[in-house]
Structures are given as C-alpha cells and as structure tokens.
Amino acid sequence: MKERIFSQDHLLGIEQLSVDDIETILETAEAFIEVSSREVKKVPALKGKTVVNLFFENSTRTRSSFEIAAKRLSADLINFNSSISSLKKGEALKDTVLTLEAMNPHIIVIRHSASGSPHYLTTFARSSIINAGDGFHEHPTQALLDALTIQQRLKTLRGLKIAIIGDILHSRVARSNIILHQKMGNEIALIGPPSLVPREFEKMGASVYYDIRSGVKAADVVMMLRVQEERGARNYFPSIREYRNRFAINREIFALAKKSAILMHPGPINRDVEIETSMADSEQSVILQQVTNGIAVRMAVLYLLKGEIHETLN
C-alpha cells in the first residue's frame, strides 16, 4: 500500500503548508465525508487518542465542529472552556498548557485572541497543535473547508477569481483564504471600505477594490465576511446603513459574477447587513455545505496530524 506523506507536525496556518499538504488534506477530507453519511457515524482511526479543545475566545461552531470530528474518529475529547478573562499572555498561557499536557493529550486545538499563540505553544508543548483561530492572524481549517467546498462545486481549485468582501483587516478567515488561494495561483479581489481593506494587502498578491461591482465582476467565488461588531468594526465606517448600501451582496450585484459562481460565508451571518436574506438562502449559496464540510476537513486534519507525542527541541 502506498503511504502518503504529510509533512506537518502541527497545523499553525495555511502559510506553513505546501500545495501537496493542502491537496492531501482535501483528498483525505473527501474520504471522510462518507463517514458522516453512515448510520453509525464512527470509525476507530483515533481510538485511544485524546484531543483537547482549548478555547480562549467564544466559539460554538468551530468548537463543536472539532468536537464532532474528534468523536467520529473515536478520539476522546476534553473541552477546556476558559472563563479566565484575566489570563495574561505568556506565562499564564504556558502554565495552562503545561497543566493540560501533564494529562498527556495528543492534540491541542487552540483558539486565542493573541496572534501567534499556537506558534508559541509549539515551543514547549509535546502535543500536536491545531490553530482554530489566533487573533487577526489565521484560521486555517476555515480556509481548508472553504477550499473543499469550492472544489466540490466548481470541480477545481485552480484558475479561479476569488472575491472576498468586508472587514478584511480584522479577518483571520480572509487572511488564511488569501494565503491559500495565493498558493493555488488564483486571482484574489479584496473588496471593502478603505479603512477595512488597506492597500497593504496588495503585497500579499491581491487586488484591492473599493467598489463592489468592479470587484465582483467575473468572480467564480464571492466570499462574504461578517461585520464583526465585537471587534469594533463599526468604528471603521460611518453607519451600518451606509455599509449595507455599498458592500452588501444582493442579487443584482451577484449577477455580475460568473454564471456558475458560488456565494460563501464563514458564518454566523448577519442577514440584511452584509448579505441580503434571499441571497443567503439561494441556490448559489453554499453556506450550509461549508458547515458540513468543516467536520470532514477537521477529521482529516486530526487524522493526518495524529498527535504522536514528540519531544520538543528545547
């Protein structure tokens, strides 16, 4: 039997992945989709492995998605819900993780508001680390499940125009997607108000548009981002109403994209803010398929990392 090589010990970001790694994850995820369609949705691939969900930010979807993924692979899962709001970065995070590691988990899934915290964990942790969102930096499993959804609907991941609309500045989803599509050689159009889409992003190889019509034109994928009120997004534009008038997706604007184009959103959606409600429920919308694919992608990542406990260098 031919053994497939996956080169990573951790999943810190899309940045660290090669195109081969990305394709391996997507192929593995395709195979795992079948497990979720069974009557008995469980396979013994990770029996005896322990996964820790370590979430320092609120999350229901990503956390549950990892939880279901781990359980369908027969891993044991512990949810560590941090209510320690006074948790200081650095030493305190280190102590939390060292305490958890004393219980010998194999994989730690971490979400933290500080960019780079998963990377920091790899400097001393013995488990495999999965980044489930770090600050404004990356959210790799979201970009991978988006890629899987695109591949399923458009039958390819290459030669595409990807339009991403909204608060690019604060979006780790956008950043991971930009890096991924950059690696796949796709054209990337970033659309939003100048305050939320700085020209800096052109350095990542994307084009920046302040007019939604020209940005969406001939796109294969239209990816909406949520207006993140909790991150103070409201301070970056005059009013929700103005934002909606200029950057919300509706049928008329979506019609400028390719005929085969799909509409994506990482959720949770704000109906009638960034997305017109009839658009969210349309044929072209793949928002729920993204959620379903999230489980398969996270199963693939958990499986491929496996979480051998390895010695750290220091």
Binding site: E3, I5, E34, P44
Partner: protein
C-alpha cells in the same frame, strides 16, 4: 525498496479463465443471486470485483450491486506508523442488511486487511452472510481467515511480494512474484 521480477505466474489468458471460474463458483454456491452484493477492497480489490461483476452480467444477465470499501481507518497498525496512511473513499450505495456479501481482494496474505474489512462492514449493518474471494492466496496467515473462493494458491516466501497487475491500472493483465534486489 527496489524489487525485481522473480517469476511470472499468470498471463492474461490464464487470468481470464480464473476470473471466469471465480464468477461461476460464486454463482454456484449462492442460489439466491438477487441477494448477492460484491464489495471490493481499495484499490485492486475494487477492479477484481468489477471484473467479476461484469462476468456475472455476461453469464446470467444480472447486475450484482458493487460497493467500494477502504479499510484504512480500521487497520490494526495505525498507531505504529510514523506517517498516517492515505485514506481512500468508501462508497456503498446500498443497504447491506441481510444481504449475502462477497468480499473481494486481489491478494490475501496475513489476513489483517480482511479482519479490518470485516470490522468495517459490521459498522454498516448486519449482513446475512459474508464470504471472501481472493484472486491470489499467498499463505502466511496470521488470522483465522480462509477465502471461500480463491483464484490460485501461491506459496511464497515472506520477503517476496505478489503483484496482481490489471489492465485498468497497469495496462496489462499478469501476476508476478517480486523479490528484493540483491537476492
């Protein structure tokens, strides 16, 4: 590992006869052919199963349902690998409840793959019966498993490898025994 051909055991003609005999034996021993289903183990077992399905169709004009099974997640050595083996697709579009299953692989060796396949199948339902067909039985069993239908019994040494080559994958039909170079 570099390998060289030690011997050619079967050519396309011999293989064709063997496939035909396997198809006939399966029909002969299973009176209720409408209850039969074939399940091929990824990857070569799937092609062997397709051949048998096609021959049964030619012989009796019936189409026996065919499923594809990947056993990777049920392997007993997953914890031993440095790298995880690739997971391939499982596709079984019918209920296996109360059906007579013919599980098909190209080569049966230690029996561990078949053990994993049996575990995997019973996660999907409770079949009426489970029978095993292998194109080559090369001995060295480590499990209490014995094929109900075998194309050929081929005694081998452990360091050798049996290669069932198929038109669909390799561009030609033949069975080879391979051995490591330097022997």
């Amino acid at each position: 590992m570099d390998e060289k051909i030690k011997a050619k055991i079967m050519d396309d003609k011999k293989m064709k006869r063997t496939f035909l005999r396997l198809a006939m034996e399966i029909l002969e021993r299973n009176r209720e052919e409408e209850n039969l289903v074939l399940i091929g183990i990824q990857t070569r077992g799937v092609h062997v199963a397709r051949r048998i399905q096609q021959l049964i169709k030619e012989l009796e004009s019936i189409e026996i349902p065919l499923g594809i099974l990947d056993i990777t997640m049920f392997r007993d050595d997953l914890h031993k690998h440095e790298q995880q083996p690739a997971v391939k697709k499982t596709r079984i579009d019918f209920s296996i409840e109360d059906r007579d299953i013919i599980l098909i692989d190209d080569v049966v060796f230690t029996g561990r793959t078949i053990r994993a396949a049996m575990d995997s199948i019973f996660e999907l339902g409770r079949p009426a019966s489970l029978q095993l067909a292998a194109f080559i039985d090369r001995g060295h069993r480590e499990m209490p498993i014995c094929p109900d239908f075998k194309g050929k019994y081929l005694p081998t040494s452990r360091r050798e490898r049996v290669k069932v080559m198929l038109q669909e994958i390799d561009g030609q039909d033949q069975v080879l025994i391979m051995e490591p170079k330097g022997f």
